[in-house]
């Protein structure tokens, strides 16, 4: 048995009880504050989640871009076809001019120049096609990167949501 006077012991118990009540009140206050902060973080996470609308907008833009590119490929193919016909025509013109003899000597020169121009146009048409493919790849890679990055962020926000729920349930 302790030799501590009974009065002192009772006083200490009263002090402890008083401290406990004070701690509980303090703890209640800090928990309420924590919950408020968690609610604030959850609201921010919900706001960030709205970025999904931006992704949808970018997706629509990408579809428009690729549709535009497809139309450009069509125009490029048409141009290539015209240039090929032009080369054939200039070749035929050169042959006909050669057949006509001296009287068409000037036309031989013109036909040769037209052929040179057609060959240059063919080269440009080929470059245009290659550049369109390059543009398609760069556009698609950029868009897919944005799209994948968006999904990565959405997954991260979901992870954050899960952590917020766990934290809230622990405090409550």
């Amino acid at each position: 048995m302790s030799d501590v006077p009974t009065t002192s012991r009772a006083q200490r118990l009263r002090d402890r009880a008083s401290q406990g009540r004070s701690d509980e009140q303090g703890s209640g206050r800090s928990n309420a504050e924590l919950l408020r902060q968690i609610d604030s973080i959850a609201a921010e996470a919900e706001q960030i989640r709205q970025i999904a609308h931006a992704f949808e907008r970018w997706h629509q833009d990408m579809i428009s871009l690729m549709s535009h590119s497809k139309a450009m490929h069509g125009r490029g193919d048409d141009l290539g076809s015209i240039v090929r016909q032009l080369i054939m025509l200039s070749l035929n013109a050169a042959i006909e001019a050669a057949r006509a003899g001296d009287s068409a000597r000037g036309f031989v020169v013109v036909a040769a120049e037209v052929r040179n121009l057609a060959l240059k146009a063919q080269s440009l048409s080929g470059d245009l096609g290659k550049n369109l493919h390059k543009s398609d790849l760069l556009t698609t890679a950029t868009f897919q990167d944005i799209q994948a990055g968006g999904k990565m962020m959405m997954a991260a926000i979901s992870g954050l949501d899960s952590m917020i729920r766990q934290l809230r349930s622990q405090i409550e």
Partner: protein, 180 residues
């Protein structure tokens, strides 16, 4: 200096082999052969296509490109009949394969996202250098000896990328998978 080490390149290849087994086969017992190639898919016809899916993390983006030789065998294997359309069915298959690759990579990169598949003209393969990749690997893939595909992995890094080698890769890819 490259942002992806030789060891990480090999680890990426191992992860892709494992993902190919998980995603490109219709049945587990089917035979899969993967052979590295020096060049990517080359467009045969003017409208030849490649299917592209991108996996991204903070430090890199990885483009995975597939080209399937359109034959009655490949139509039957992926589409269900010799006359079936190949593209929609194979887009799902490629999605599964890339999803499996994502899971493999998520061991090193917890934050990863994957795009939806997109079709490009196969001529685009000739422009890969425009993306300034840190590493490009091409593979010829054969399923059951008759279905032929080509795959290209093109990784562009914006920070050092460290992929941990799969310790059990060899054990898991035994059986029908043959690597050359």
């Amino acid at each position: 200096m490259s942002l992806i080490t030789e060891q990480s390149r090999q680890a990426l290849a191992d992860a892709f082999f494992s993902a190919a087994r998980a995603g490109l086969l219709r049945a587990q017992e089917d035979a899969l052969e993967i052979q590295p190639r020096t060049a990517g898919a080359v467009a045969g016809a003017a409208d030849d296509t490649v299917l592209v899916i991108t996996t991204s993390s903070f430090g890199f983006r990885l483009l995975i490109m597939f080209h399937v030789d359109v034959t009655p065998e490949s139509r039957t294997y992926y589409g269900g009949s010799p006359d079936a359309g190949l593209q929609p069915a194979f887009a799902e298959i490629a999605n599964l394969c890339c999803g499996a690759l994502n899971r493999e990579l998520s061991r090193d990169f917890p934050h990863l996202g994957m795009s939806i598949p997109y079709l490009l003209n196969a001529h685009c393969m000739g422009c890969l250098d425009e993306l300034k990749p840190d590493h490009v690997a091409h593979y010829a893939i054969t399923v059951n000896g008759s279905v032929r595909l080509q795959a290209t992995l093109c990784i562009c890094c914006s920070a050092p990328v460290q992929i941990t080698p799969r310790q059990h890769a060899a054990a898991e890819t035994t059986g029908e998978l043959e690597l050359f």
